[in-house]
């Protein structure tokens, strides 16, 4: 059982207030959508939850089995997909997977990686350099990278971006699977993606 507690979060740039006093609490099985106008801070909110950006006010707490997760260990519990997160273009899809397995302390097995790539329709391109991939293929590989360590907290910033109908179905399956045991936070204004959520946090209100 995991819990994500966001309390009084605010982000200010100089004199500009991006958002302020945002609070919500999620437990395993919950899916929340963060919506808002362009520039309202949806992506920044996800970056704050992941620990990539410090909030100007408030705090983000994560718990698993009622034990708090220290900020420095958060990376092991969080999987994130975002347009701003890039993979290594000079490596192949398989080499990218190998790197993320090794750096995250996951046993690397070539055959298993092929199985995973098959699920996102990338098996034919496993040994191709990522720099030659289309944006949709890169997005699929980003999804694999985010899920490779089975994170209980899944942060998806516009997850369906650049994906075709099969890719969108994969995203739907990933979210419904995550619902069975973890927490999902989706930042999007896409109606289809917002519909996956049980609750909405609108940053423009």
């Amino acid at each position: 059982m995991c819990t994500l507690k966001v309390t009084g979060i605010g982000k200010y740039f100089s004199t500009t207030i991006l958002f302020k006093d945002i609070s919500f609490e999620l437990n395993s099985g919950d899916v929340v959508a963060i919506t808002g106008w362009n520039g309202s801070g949806k992506s920044t909110m996800l970056r704050i939850i992941s620990g990539l950006v410090r909030p100007s006010a408030g705090q983000v707490e994560m718990f698993c089995d009622n034990k708090p997760i220290p900020k420095k260990s958060r990376r092991r519990y969080v999987g994130m997909v975002a347009p701003a997160l890039s993979l290594y273009d000079e490596l192949t899809a398989l080499e990218n997977m190998e790197f993320f397995c090794r750096v995250r302390g996951i046993a690397y097995d070539r055959k298993s990686c092929f199985n995973i790539l098959e699920r996102v329709d990338l098996v034919k391109h496993a040994e191709k350099i990522c720099g030659t991939f289309s944006s949709g293929m890169k997005q699929r590989l980003k999804l694999v990278q985010a899920l490779i360590h089975n994170p209980p907290f899944l942060l998806l910033d516009e997850p369906g971006c650049n994906l075709d109908s099969r890719g969108i179905k994969s995203v739907k399956n990933i979210i419904s699977d995550q619902r069975s045991w973890g927490i999902t936070v989706i930042a999007s204004n896409e109606k289809r993606e917002v519909d996956y959520a049980d609750s909405i946090v609108n940053l423009s209100e």
Binding site: L52, A84, C101, R102, A107, N115, I116, I174
Partner: protein, 240 residues
């Protein structure tokens, strides 16, 4: 690691240490470098150009025999330092420019990232030294009376140079005027090391009885201090 029918991956977690994470980053950087050859080309072209220019214009016969150990030590370290600065400054900048900085922050611990980048920079410096130092000795007719001491000076000087440039490279990665900032920050940080390394190399070449070793010890201490301080400071630089 395999997916279940419901779609979730089942991954077998093995122990992850700072060293294993650092080695993963080191190998990934080497693989990327092998494909792009950005740092290698930059470092080697600078080193070879300056080495050839120096050897053609000065050669082994234009300098008095007694002055050679000192002047050659100066020239050798100038070539090594500026060649290293031309390529190693990009170790973090390339992550920033490729947009992979955040994914690295989410995947590895800061200290492991620093160590991985340090290993990569030391590999580049090692390769540079293995090519340039023998070539310099051959082309310039550099006679070294204490080769062991000279080699130790090269190794400890290289370690300090690698540690210093890696830390500065991390500091400038998110700045706008990276090139100017790298030079401005590297100069005061590396100056004590360069002076020590020149002095040590000169003494090893002159063959002053065991006199090169104090500089070797100073350079080794510099490298240890720099690596320790970097490991303590790097998380503050790495995280916003």
């Amino acid at each position: 690691m395999h997916p279940t029918k419901s779609g979730r991956w089942i991954t077998q977690t093995v122990s992850s240490t700072y060293l294993s994470e650092a080695v993963a980053i080191w190998f990934r950087d080497l693989r990327s470098e092998f494909r792009t050859r950005y740092a290698v080309n930059s470092i080697l072209m600078f080193a070879l150009t300056t080495l050839v220019a120096v050897s053609f214009s000065i050669g082994s016969f234009r300098i008095e025999e007694s002055e050679r150990p000192f002047l050659y030590a100066v020239l050798l370290w100038i070539i090594l330092v500026f060649s290293a600065l031309s390529g190693l400054s990009r170790s973090f900048v390339k992550e920033q420019e490729a947009g992979t900085m955040d994914i690295l922050k989410l995947s590895a611990r800061p200290q492991a990232v620093f160590l991985g980048k340090l290993f990569f920079n030391l590999t580049m410096l090692g390769a540079l030294g293995l090519i340039i130092v023998p070539a310099f000795i051959l082309l310039m007719g550099y006679k070294i009376k204490f080769p062991g001491c000279f080699a130790a000076m090269m190794v400890t000087g290289g370690l300090g140079l690698g540690a210093g440039t890696t830390l500065v490279a991390a500091m400038i990665a998110q700045a706008d005027a990276r090139g100017a900032l790298f030079s401005a920050l590297s100069f005061p940080l590396l100056l004590p090391l360069i002076i020590t390394a020149i002095k040590g190399s000169e003494r090893a070449a002159y063959g002053i009885s065991a006199a090169g070793w104090p500089e070797v010890k100073i350079a080794a201490a510099y490298a240890v201090i720099m690596i320790t301080v970097s490991l303590l400071l790097f998380p503050l630089i790495w995280e916003e």
